[in-house]
């Protein structure tokens, strides 16, 4: 850090004067602020400044410092960009950012006296309608935190419905989602049967079906999966339901649903996903947007908030939060889940973007993204030693390289190309997966981007 001015006693943004403090201390009858901490043992109290921390810097100095740091980063918009594996870069129209900043909307939170904010509630109601149509489910909630927590909530919900506690997870489920579920299951006592991703042309549908038994509460299948493959959701759903288990479909790239059948129409009981790729942007990893839909008969076991339409005392259309009697602020520790809120602002951005696109726009976006994926796969497999893994894909696929993908990604970045996500970043320490590279495209991918990636990859592998 640049030189600092040390020993600054008062922060610029704290408005209290010494006189204010003096009055307050006199009122409560203590001599100084330190006396308020008398109950904390002396050896646990900090004497003087924290060792090793620099003091305050001026705003100008901090700006210079941050500018130097950011010069070391390659940002998504600067270079050919092929990263996906759970977070996707799509074009977000400027109107989305403009509209979400309107004062009527600008809250990250559902209000606790919700009925006074009819505009917010109407947006959530429209959002739920969009998610339900996108996922092919009867109902959808007003959003959860992100895809991975929505995925865990679906597992917990399936346990409440089936009164069983063993979830079977596809090897195609994003390893970070598996990790989130494992963290939660450590405390709830649920059993998770998880598989490693395998570099096969097709997803592990047969192995997944074989793992279902009479104890299974739910089967989780990502669609498309983490390698970009498209599993046969209808077949797995039928197998799960035949054993009394629920099928949970997980969607990390909702744009893909512009091109392939909705999981709900294929028989999924619960569909969850990450909504980031519509309206929200990459945002360095968050905040993101958990999507959650299910069959109507399960609605009372669904976590999170639900906005409903009704008629007010004057007979006018109105919106209300509904079925909230099972939520945490009413039912305390017996609540359906510990989620009592939603990602309101991200849901708003998602809803506005999807409204601007419409069904036809989403479908065109998915087709354009898929076309770029086909072109990219063709270009990459021209490079010696590069082979396509997938039999099917929408806008994301996996290739194997002749050497460790993580090193190749670094070498590509040094040539100012962000070429994909090494599977070893998601599943470290597996020699058989080390050479796999996950490549994603979108409507933003250009001919020049594809040519730049293919050329840089040929150079790195030469």
């Amino acid at each position: 850090m640049p030189p600092m001015s040390r020993g600054c006693k008062r922060m610029r943004y704290l408005p209290l004067s010494d006189h204010d403090r003096g009055e307050m201390l006199a009122t409560i009858g203590v001599p100084d602020v330190d006396a308020l901490f008398a109950d904390v043992p002396a050896d646990a109290r900090l004497a003087g400044p924290i060792a090793g921390l620099p003091g305050h810097a001026s705003e100008m100095a901090v700006e210079r410092h941050m500018a130097r740091l950011s010069a070391d980063s390659l940002t998504a918009g600067q270079v050919p960009f092929f990263l996906g594996a759970g977070a996707y870069r799509h074009h977000v129209p400027a109107s989305v950012d403009h509209l979400i900043q309107r004062g009527e909307f600008l809250t990250a939170y559902t209000p606790y006296q919700p009925e006074i904010a009819q505009g917010t509630l109407q947006v959530l109601f429209e959002f739920q309608t969009q998610v339900a149509r996108l996922f092919g489910t009867d109902v959808a909630n007003a959003s959860l935190y992100d895809g991975s927590t929505a995925c865990w909530e679906a597992i917990a919900m399936a346990g409440r419905i089936t009164r069983r506690s063993k979830a079977v997870l596809s090897g195609g489920l994003h390893p970070h989602y598996v990790g989130t579920a494992q963290t939660m299951a450590r405390f709830t006592g649920d059993t998770l049967v998880a598989a490693q991703p395998a570099l096969a042309a097709r997803s592990d549908d047969d192995a997944l079906i074989a793992a279902i038994d009479g104890e299974t509460s739910c089967v989780l299948v990502q669609y498309p999966d983490v390698l970009g493959r498209i599993p046969d959701v209808a077949r797995i759903a039928a197998a799960a339901q035949a054993k009394g288990a629920l099928l949970i479909a997980v969607v990390t790239e909702p744009v893909a649903l512009g091109l392939i059948d909705s999981p709900g129409t294929l028989g999924a009981d619960i569909v969850v996903g990450e909504g980031q790729s519509l309206g929200v942007g990459l945002q360095f990893g968050g905040p993101y947007l958990g999507l959650f839909g299910c069959r109507e008969k399960f609605v009372r076991q669904m976590p999170g908030r639900l906005c409903g339409e009704t008629i007010d005392a004057d007979g006018k259309r109105a919106f209300v939060l509904t079925l909230s009697t099972r939520e945490q602020h009413i039912r305390r520790e017996k609540a359906t889940s510990n989620i009592c809120t939603n990602s309101g602002l991200c849901a708003l951005a998602f809803s506005i973007h999807l409204s601007l696109l419409g069904g036809e726009g989403l479908s065109r976006m998915a087709r354009a993204s898929h076309l770029r994926a086909v072109q990219t796969a063709q270009a990459l497999t021209q490079v010696a030693g590069v082979a396509l893994v997938n039999e099917t894909y929408v806008n994301e696929f996996t290739v194997t390289l002749p050497r460790a993908a993580a090193e190749v990604v670094d070498a590509l970045a040094a040539r100012r190309v962000l070429g994909g996500v090494a599977l070893s970043r998601l599943v470290p320490g597996q020699a058989d997966l080390a050479n796999a590279l996950i490549v994603a495209t979108s409507e933003l991918t250009s001919d020049e981007d594809i040519a730049a990636l293919a050329a840089a990859l040929a150079e790195v592998l030469a």
Binding site: R163, R300, L323, T325, R326, I330, R331, K334
Partner: protein
């Protein structure tokens, strides 16, 4: 048939080795319009005091506790489509589940009709 009551406002009507369980008229009046009843699974084994069922009203979602120990033999199928039966006939058609009695002695700790009426009057 003898009917007993709990301080938590469940009733249990005993006929031989089996019993029928529901919530009292007082309870349904306090809850308001009932919108959904989550019933135990048939075959579930209950211990006296277990939360066996959840009754949702427009105001709250409330637990219904097992008044005695035993196994659930049957749940009221009519409540799935008509939860309002718990409002209109709480001690009749709006029953929740039937169960076996693991220990008839547990009934001794419950209230009779007069004692329950006095309990409610004191609330």
């Amino acid at each position: 048939m003898t009917r007993y009551f709990t301080a938590d406002h469940e009733w249990i009507a005993v006929e031989g080795d089996t019993a029928t369980v529901g919530i009292t008229d007082y309870a349904q009046g306090q809850l308001g319009d009932i919108t959904f009843v989550e019933l135990p699974a048939a075959g579930a084994s209950l211990t006296k005091g277990d939360s066996a069922s959840v009754v949702d009203s427009v105001k709250a979602a409330s637990d219904v506790y097992a008044p005695v120990s035993g196994d659930v033999t049957e749940v009221n199928p009519a409540l799935e489509d008509a939860p309002e039966l718990v409002n209109s006939a709480p001690e009749g058609e709006g029953w929740l589940w039937k169960m076996t009695l693991a220990d008839a002695g547990e009934l001794d700790g419950l209230m009779g009709e007069a004692a329950y009426a006095a309990h409610v009057a004191g609330l």
